[in-house]
Structure formats: structure tokens, C-alpha cells
Amino acid sequence: MTAPFPAPYGGHVPVLRLGGVLLVTFQGDLHDSQAEQLQQDVSEAAADNRVSGVVLDLSGVELVDSFLGRVIGDIAAKTRLLAAETVVCGMRPAVAITLVELGLTLPGLRTALSTEDAMRLLGQGSVSPRPGRTRQESP
């Protein structure tokens, strides 16, 4: 078919280890199968690297639907069983508004506004935590 718009760019998710934390940076529009693969990759990397925390950076994500929302919740649940805490950071306001209207509030998920705040929340920052910059959703 002829493309009315530029071809979709594939999503890309690097998983980096920074000290005792895995930094997972979501970029672009993930296929469902890529998102499912990512769950497995993060769980394996969390266990292999014996990390204490996982930061999911969503600042490059324009859309979280119920599928990706479930993947994020599942990653948090799986890493918890592997003795690592997950913090979601960088969610765009439009994404947060849409998620709540969709009915998906992801209770119990720890959140931070930036990667830096998330690292601090996990005890990996050099600066002491600033109150009010991080938040935790009540279940």
C-alpha cells in the first residue's frame, strides 16, 4: 500500500545497568510482541545483574494503552519477586490523563518525575532526596 504518512518507526528499548539499578528507556511506539519480549529481558537482566532497582523511563512514550499498561505493571510485579524495586518515571501529562480515563491507574506503582529523581528514590543518587519531587501512588 502507498503510505499516506511516513512509515512507522520501530520501538526501541535499551536496558542499561547503572550501579545497582537497571535503566530501561522506552522509545517510540512498541509492537505488542516487542513489549512482551521486554518483560522477559528485564526480568532476566534484573536477576543476572543482581540489581536492587529498575527504572522505567517513559519520557519518550506518546501512548500507553491497556496492553502496555499491563506490561509495565507486570514488569514491576516480576522484578519485585526478584528482589528489585521498580520506579516509573517521565510519564507525559497527556499519557497520565489518558491512562486514568481509560481506567488504568496502576495502583502501587512507584513513580518519579525524572530519571534523576527515580535514581535518588532507589538510593542511587549522590544528592539526598528532595521532598515533593517524588511521589508514590496509594494502592
Binding site: D29, R92, V95, I97
Partner: protein, 146 residues
């Protein structure tokens, strides 16, 4: 198939990759019609939920995207159709938490909350058609109550 402006289109929904196409088409069409960022995100998210239903529950189908206008306000109408098994109990399918697959059961009910107008036609054996419309500005007429 496509008309001027690149908003009108008929996109197949047969794979994961097609869902990405649908999302990107709706995003760009809504932006072209003057939807704000939050309105775009809501409509694209609804489209993603409905397209996934078409793919997973309907066995594949297509989305038709068309610009509409009411009282001078531009809007976007999306029609998702499949020839799958249909939905035997619409009320139950629209309720939160009901799922026939492995999702969260937020798809249909959630999508309905994210758009201004929502219509679903389905019966066992004939497939399912879901039509949603959102306007780029405040709806000119009272919101359709479900």
C-alpha cells in the same frame, strides 16, 4: 482509498505492525485536524484498544478513518470492522474488568470513555463494527450518554 489531506484512509488490521500503523495514522490525522495533545492522545489510545480488539477477538479486519464536521468543528470518525465471531453479550463486554482474552478487560469500556461518541454493532456470526467520533473542540452537542 485516500483523499486530499491524507486524513481519509482504510487501513488493514492483521498484525502487531498494523496496530502501530493505525496509531500513527490516527495521531497524524488528529493533529492535522487541530486536535490538542491530550485530545490526540485520548483518541489514539482508544484507536489502539479498538484495533487490538479487531485483531485479537475479531481475527483481523480494518479501520476506516474519515474527517467529519459538525457546526464548523472538525472531527475524526474511526470505524473498526471485523467479520469475527461477534460479541454475544454487549453489556458485559462493555463493563470494566470483563475480558475474554488475557488483557485487563479495559479495552471496550475504556475506549468508550476516551471518545465523544461511541457506537457498537455486533451479533454472533456477523462480526463486529465499532464506530467512534471525537471532535477537535468541545462537542457542539451534548455528549452522547451511553
Amino acid at each position: 482509498m485516500q483523499t486530499a489531506g491524507g486524513v481519509s484512509a482504510r487501513l488493514p488490521i492483521h498484525s502487531d505492525l498494523d496496530l502501530v500503523w493505525v496509531r500513527q495514522h490516527v495521531r497524524q490525522a488528529a493533529a492535522q485536524l487541530g486536535f490538542g495533545l491530550v485530545a490526540q492522545t485520548k483518541l489514539v489510545t482508544a484507536a489502539s484498544e479498538l484495533a487490538r480488539n479487531t485483531l485479537v477477538h475479531g481475527g483481523g479486519g480494518e479501520m476506516e478513518c474519515a474527517p467529519v464536521s459538525r457546526a464548523g468543528v472538525p472531527g475524526l470518525r474511526l470505524t473498526f470492522s471485523d467479520e469475527g465471531p461477534g460479541i454475544p453479550d454487549l453489556d458485559r463486554a462493555l463493563s470494566d474488568g470483563y475480558t475474554s482474552g488475557d488483557g485487563l478487560g479495559m479495552g471496550l469500556g475504556g475506549a468508550r470513555r476516551l471518545v465523544h461518541e461511541f457506537r457498537i454493532d455486533s451479533s454472533p456470526g456477523t462480526g463486529t463494527t465499532v464506530t467512534v467520533t471525537s471532535w477537535s473542540a468541545k462537542p457542539p452537542l451534548p455528549r452522547e450518554e451511553a
